[in-house]
Symmetry: C2
Subunit: 191 residues, 2 copies
């Protein structure tokens, strides 16, 4: 296996672009090499098989979608309660929108996970950990609501982002910020 | 173009199976012929090109996922308000789960719609009409809540079903019926 970490990361980022553009089925070593602009055969020196390429692409997506350290705390408006939840959810949605390719790649891999038990196991672990962390942060910071409040916000945001990326006109002139405010107002109890 | 309607429907059902198993990228005339067990070249007599195959497969998915006439009214328990909404949402989710292949095919096509403006336009129309109909039925039948209540139920159910099909262990021992009850209780106001 080749060991150049920058090259590996560049190949994984190319793999994410292939996922978003072609779907999981289009993710081949040859397609990754072409997208990364490297000689055919390069990827196969970095990944032992397609399963490994898929699972490392998934890991790379989670790294890219994770908030930058301190990003959520930075320059928060002096609000609390529901208003703070609206602001945090909007920031999260903006991040996902900025990383459109990554987020579409994540959806593609989730559908692939429906067909591949190993990938499903990995996704379940990562997403459970992430949801659990969000629940703990919400409760620890004293924001209103309980664990199911956060679970519902997570589920609703997944649905909203899927609509936003695949059928953006579905909710008419309601933009994502507006829809997020509605979701939070309806799901999060008053402080 | 060949005109046998049963044969066309059988080819579209085979196309939906290919979509669910292989993703949109795997949907070729050859794959559909193989899945349907018909001679290679058959599909290309029924569909002028791949775009037409995709859009007719989408239409067929919506037909299969639509409730049977009267199904939603049949044998409803003598409840009203929130409890009735819970029951209707659970029936809808059971229908989607029974039509797992169709629903996974729909997700695959939604991701394909992110790449294909024509398909996106068609999906936006169909889903908007469907959501609008759900809002009207909810309001006309006097169930509690307003248009945004129904919009949120729709968004949350999309997120829940995506989790259920792709990472069923994400919500631990909370099954779909339980999660739906939680969603409805939090989103639908008391009557």
């Amino acid at each position: 296996m080749a060991r150049n970490p920058e090259r590996r990361t560049a190949l994984l980022d190319a793999a994410i672009e292939v996922l978003a553009d072609e779907g999981a089925r289009g993710l081949t070593f040859r397609a990754v090499d072409a997208r990364a602009g490297v000689p055919t055969g390069t990827s196969s020196n970095y990944f032992s098989d397609r399963d490994q390429l898929l699972s490392q692409a998934a890991d790379r997506i989670f790294v890219r979608l994770a908030p930058e350290p301190g990003a959520l705390d930075a320059a928060l408006p002096p609000t609390s309660g529901r208003e703070l939840v609206v602001e945090l959810m909007r920031r999260l949605a903006r991040r996902m929108t900025a990383e459109r390719t990554c987020y579409l790649g994540l959806f593609e891999l989730r559908l692939e996970a429906a067909r591949r038990p190993e990938l499903q196991k990995r996704f379940t672990e990562v997403l459970r950990t992430d949801l659990g962390l969000n629940i703990r942060l919400h409760l620890d910071s004293g924001m209103p609501g309980d664990a199911d409040t956060v679970r519902l916000l997570y589920v609703a945001l997944t649905g909203l982002l899927l609509d936003h990326f695949t059928v953006p006109g579905l909710h008419g002139d309601r933009d994502l910020d507006d829809l997020i405010e509605t979701v939070v107002t309806r799901i999060v109890p008053e402080a």
